[in-house]
Symmetry: C2
């Protein structure tokens, strides 16, 4: 039976590993986004725009504050990749919609992101186990 001390040390190491992997993933997104002239957060936003959604929904998917989503969407809108439309049923909200250019660039980005994913080192079964564990951890 490991000591309490060794236990917490292992836990801290585990945190380090999680952060390291997250960092690697972020680096991957940054690299691929740069190839199409976008910053990492801009690329993340484009990736998460799987369909029309509100600012808040996008912020949730990007795991960032709504005010930050505003900042990033401003950039994408200025580039003509996104449109901010009035929400059909809630006048408080905006509905984000990709333009034609936005759609095209998103397809390109997705294709780039698939290549050499940081998780490629794990088999499909391993990814399944990892998924289950993380699901339980973040609960």
């Amino acid at each position: 039976m490991p000591s309490r001390e060794a236990e917490t040390a292992a836990e801290r190491e585990l945190c380090g590993l999680v952060n390291g992997l997250a960092r690697q993933i972020a680096e991957h997104v940054r690299d691929r986004s740069a190839r199409i002239g976008l910053t990492a957060p801009q690329g993340t936003a484009l990736r998460e725009l799987t369909g029309p959604m509100t600012m808040r929904e996008l912020a949730g998917r990007m795991s960032c504050e709504p005010s930050n989503a505003t900042f990033i969407v401003d950039k994408l809108e200025a580039r003509g990749l996104i449109e901010r439309r009035p929400h059909p049923t809630d006048r408080r909200a905006k509905q984000l919609v990709l333009t034609g250019d936005g759609e095209a660039l998103r397809d390109k980005l997705i294709a780039l992101l698939v290549q050499e994913s940081p998780l490629a080192g794990l088999s499909e079964t391993e990814q399944g186990v990892l998924h289950a564990l993380l699901d339980r951890a973040v609960r």
Copy 2:
């Protein structure tokens, strides 16, 4: 056998989970650091200062750029928690050493960080499996 498409979708979801957990860990550090009057990066630096080390080594442990480590160490030094000493064998480098106050505050922080860790939801065996998987992934 899952389609290529479903496969990449699962992979993307997995990335989201990793980021989510990393975020939760960061939030935990931010919260505990705040209780002793430090920001999250300052707390991380204090936690990683397990002994005398160079700026570069600290940056490596914190997974950040050396220039950022400079910024953060400036703050901790101004607070009297850290000292920058000349490195004993390499005149290019600095040796970071905790002051008495620094040691005391670090102990307090470690004790706080142990409580209700985001990974507490996982059993010890599960943490072991997770550790092995992440190790393979970040390789």
